[in-house]
């Protein structure tokens, strides 16, 4: 299958940083400067394709094995992203075995394309909840300060100036009855938002409270119940807020 001439040609294209080692009969492991961030070389193999005119570049399922150390493709959304990466890189998936079949003259191109896909798939770890979680306020801020700029948002607003411990994440005060927005992505800031709303009510402030949750499952049921009874309006996710924020603000401004 792999003639010396073919291997030499690949070697030349990889500037001599290339070799093949027979891992099992007719399965050749690629040794080339294609590494994961932890220093392990990418697990890429060359073997026969069912079509004898083509060569199969494959990982024998080792990319998904590596990904599974700290990340699972266990939701429709993650699966959608995974399939998109495969489709965009012309990679096929057979029971977790990722591969691409190429003509012998395009093995070099195929290897680079395949390595790119492997890299993107292993980087799906960056979609872990804790990372997305830490991006919540950044994404909320970015959305408010760009898309909702026309409503003059004020960041870090203190409705009771002498009590800075009661802080509002964003205030929209284009109308008599201002809107106080709180971002919530865990139980602790759900409780803080509840306490702030209750304090403002006790101080008889004229305001509408608006909660943007990262998602419904980031806070416990009791915190959710307390927040619901204290706040006027809640968006169950950042995505929902991004979709409906303008419409909501327009309606609120018209009403007051």
């Amino acid at each position: 299958m792999l003639t010396q001439e073919f291997i030499n040609e690949l070697k030349r294209k990889f500037n001599n940083y290339f070799s093949l080692k027979e891992k099992r009969e007719n399965i050749f492991q690629v040794f080339a400067p294609l590494y994961h961030p932890d220093g392990d070389m990418m697990d890429i193999f060359i073997t026969e394709a069912p079509n004898p005119e083509l060569i199969r570049i494959t990982d024998f399922g080792l990319t998904l094995m590596r990904l599974s150390y700290s990340f699972e493709i266990d939701t429709p959304n993650k699966e959608k992203i995974f399939n998109k990466i495969l489709a965009e890189n012309s990679i096929q998936n057979e029971n977790g075995n990722l591969f691409i079949d190429v003509k012998p003259q395009y093995v070099y191109h195929g290897l680079l394309q395949f390595a790119q896909a492997v890299s993107k798939i292993t980087n799906m770890r960056l979609f872990r909840r804790e990372i997305i979680h830490s991006l919540f306020f950044e994404m909320l801020d970015d959305f408010i300060m760009t898309k909702l700029q026309k409503y003059n948002p004020i960041k870090k607003f203190y409705p009771i100036p002498e009590h800075e411990e009661y802080e509002v994440d964003y205030c929209f005060n284009q109308r008599k009855r201002p809107i106080y927005l709180f971002g919530v992505n865990n139980n602790a800031n759900a409780r803080l938002a509840t306490i702030c709303c209750q304090k403002f009510i006790a101080e008889k402030l004229n305001f509408t409270s608006l909660i943007v949750l990262e998602s419904l499952d980031v806070i416990g049921k009791k915190d959710q119940a307390r927040l619901m009874s204290a706040a006027d309006k809640q968006f169950p996710s950042l995505e929902e807020f991004q979709k409906r924020a303008e419409e909501y603000l327009e309606r609120e401004i018209l009403q007051n």
Binding site: G39, D43, L62, M65, N97, S134
Partner: protein
């Protein structure tokens, strides 16, 4: 931020199993897998151990220790099989081959790198079974023999 000393203490402190591994490894895609949860003896620190082994290439395996902080998890230590080449510095490669371990360091964390890039070739094990035994000894799992019978007998050259 963790120091190297703290990292080593976390890796080697005494731990007990709080959620045991499944009796049989499950099969997923092209690999076998198992997991179990650990905690420090005072129950304050939580860990997960992941175990993966390729179905066909049995020398391709990984046994790792994740340390759970409030906001994230860090892969502190990993035992790898003899899967091919590994380098310490990608831009100054001096490749190693064979069974090896990966460890996180204070320097890596300080530079915002959560990948356990400190690689060391090891002669502590030469098979998956020996690696599991070595791993459990090294990360100091006190009650591992309750779940992995004969694990304490599996030492290299014994």
């Amino acid at each position: 931020m963790l120091t190297d000393e703290q990292i080593n203490k976390l890796i080697t402190e005494e731990k007990i199993i709080t959620k045991p591994p499944k009796k049989d490894f499950s099969s997923e895609n092209q690999h076998f897998r198992n997991e179990f949860q650990l905690s420090s003896l005072d129950g304050k620190r939580k860990y997960t151990v992941f175990i993966r082994q390729h179905k066909e290439f049995r020398e391709n395996f990984s046994i790792g220790l994740l340390y759970h902080l409030e906001e994230e998890s860090i892969n502190l230590f990993r035992c790898n099989g003899n899967h091919g080449e590994v380098v310490v510095d990608i831009l100054n490669p001096s490749p190693h081959y064979g069974f090896h371990t990966h460890k996180i360091t204070a320097d890596l964390l300080e530079n915002n790198i959560n990948e356990p890039k400190k690689v060391e070739v090891t002669s502590e094990y030469a098979s998956f079974e020996q690696a599991l035994a070595y791993f459990c000894r090294y990360v100091n799992v006190k009650d591992c023999s309750d779940y992995f019978p004969n694990i304490n007998q599996l030492k290299l050259f014994e």
